[in-house]
Symmetry: C2
Subunit: 345 residues, 2 copies
DNA sequence: CTGAAAGCGCTTACAG
DNA sequence: CTGAAAGCGCTTACAG
């Protein structure tokens, strides 16, 4: 809340040294390898403190060519899964003294492309992107530039780039094991028609599991279009139920919310009439009449690892070194997957 | 996705003019009042386009002393009310070519103070703040600086500053009228113990209404502490019910979510056993067994007006001109306020 | 161990 | 209508 902004010049004058020295000290280049007399450094720091010095980011970034900002483009920042990751990213970035810009592609490739341009324009030092359906080419082009890049939640096949992903196949297997333990065989998967690596891996896990248990003939994957989900949902769930489905697995939290809404409308009681397992949590489930069995992703770790990778990428000259981190899912058992229990209230 | 960043120098060289002219043209200072030959301007724009020129924000901001960024500090960016406003702010700010930094105070004054410092540090041109409990002094000090400031959602009494607020008294009256129309007299308000202007105005509206209708003796305001709401909620709702309360009004969406959760736990059916009206919407209500009657705030307008005010404040020299905008609430009637109806399913 | 100086890309008063 | 030049605050290679 200062009036006149203190500059290194002010500090240099007051401390009786050159601005170069102030700059050195302010950048912590004091340790063994550096020069600067310990006494001088102490004095400079004292003056800086006294004048409440705050470095001018614009000047710093103009001179160094680094902005100490990173861009993060998710598919929808209002989705609790991404909102939670966003807060974690921000926290971890803050530790490294980075500022984060967020954007939402809304699963739209041209929006994604535009956001990338906006971010590059702002001069971000690195970019974290959740690729959307149809964005392969855009991401490939981006990966060819020298801008550090980390993909989050979903990946692009055959592309040499850093990733932080969930073990989605394992996640699907966990969901399936839980239902199969309860005696379900007629298990159907509600998924998206979009081509996304995480969705594909969840579908793969589902199929593997159905086949391994000899339920292949009961298998059904419903692939919904991203827009206007509710009508499609009522239709596909109706189809499933008429086929005597015993359980539905929803591949994302949005699908689960829409699915439970549809079941409500259809007067289908969970888990009495059908068992349900979802992916991720959402505040929306808090008021549902039964607790939702779901796959829990390690949100904090997603946020943490992404920042570690992008900071590493920014600081290394060699852009060809890519790291892929695969995180472990967890099953949270609620009542929605327990067959033959009563309603909670 | 460029390799070499184009600068005005590149453009000047290629177009055969000075960098000053390029700068002028790039800043749209072409109209009547300005100089620059129309032909020259056209040529410069063409070259800029061809070289895919993107201005260097750091240089621009260093030179102009303006960062074209604004800071927005809400109480909790993960609360859907603020998250929605945030997206609107971002959209409107983008039109003015402003970038927005967000932060959450978590209703904590020292966090708020720290965030203000961080934002000032980043060199924001203006600040939008949702004041939290106990932040009067901090906000007052901030208002004394020359930094443009707009308060959002809540205000500070006797402080000359711009505001965008809801007509909270009217909102409370709307909620009350709806319940009273249904024949409710024993209406209780669930509120916070924090001192916040919006909450205070809602309480005021509630009290006015109870007295005006002669229900003063049935009036009860429950003021909960911000932390560990659920236990308090079960206790106060229990008290209300033992007093034969006919309706509960929840002063915020968080209180409504917690309140409905508590009623579920207590096996109290809405609206059969008690009517309910809430403030704001939330995805959490989507899966509730009945639709929630609630006060709807004009979210889009909040986001819009806030940006208009802060941009106006940034562009005017005279910091003493303050504007307060009071927005109108709307009642959305669901089934939760209808006494004697059956459950939806 | 320390200082003088160049220069990052831009804006803008000034001179013509 | 146009250009030369100063300067925003900082970093860093260079000279001492």
């Amino acid at each position: 809340m200062a009036v006149h902004k203190t500059t290194i010049k002010d500090i240099a004058n007051k401390a009786g040294v050159s601005i170069a020295l102030v700059s050195f000290v302010m950048n912590n280049k004091i340790g063994r390898n550096y020069r600067v007399n310990a006494e001088t450094a102490k004095k400079i720091l004292a003056v800086a403190e006294e004048l409440n010095y705050q470095p001018n980011n614009a000047a710093r970034s103009l001179r160094s060519g680094r902005s100490r900002t990173i861009g993060v483009i998710v598919s929808d920042i209002s989705n609790p899964f991404f909102a939670d990751i966003a807060r974690r990213i921000e926290d971890n970035a803050y530790k490294y003294n980075y500022t984060v810009f967020f954007g939402s592609s809304d699963e739209n490739t041209s929006k994604l492309e535009n956001l990338i341009d906006v971010m590059v324009n702002k001069g971000v030092d690195g970019l974290v992107v959740v690729p959307c359906h149809g964005s392969e080419e855009v991401i490939r082009k981006l990966a060819e530039t020298s801008l550090p890049l980390v993909l989050l939640d979903r990946t692009i096949s055959d592309l040499d780039v850093s990733n932080v992903l969930l073990n989605n196949k394992k996640a699907a297997l966990l969901a399936m094991d839980c239902l199969i333990r309860q005696g379900c065989r007629r298990i159907e998967l509600i998924s998206y028609s979009m081509s996304l690596s995480n969705i594909a891996d969840r579908e793969y896990g589902y199929q593997i599991s159905m086949k391994a248990h000899g339920f292949g003939e009961y298998g059904h994957i419903h692939r919904l279009r991203f827009k206007d989900i509710s009508d499609q949902m009522i239709r596909v769930l109706g189809e499933g139920l008429s086929r005597e489905a015993e359980a539905f697995v929803f591949a994302t939290n949005t699908l689960a919310v829409e699915g439970l809404k549809a079941l409500n409308k259809m007067n289908v009681i969970v888990p009495r009439d059908v068992a349900v397992v979802g992916f991720d949590d959402s505040e929306a489930f808090d008021l549902y009449y039964t607790t939702l069995t779901h796959i829990k992703q390690p949100i904090e770790q997603f946020g943490y690892e992404v920042v570690e990778l992008i900071v590493k990428a920014i600081n290394q000259k060699d852009r060809s070194q890519c790291t892929t981190i695969v995180l472990n899912p967890e099953l949270v058992e609620g009542n929605s997957s327990c067959r033959h229990v009563k309603r909670l209230f």
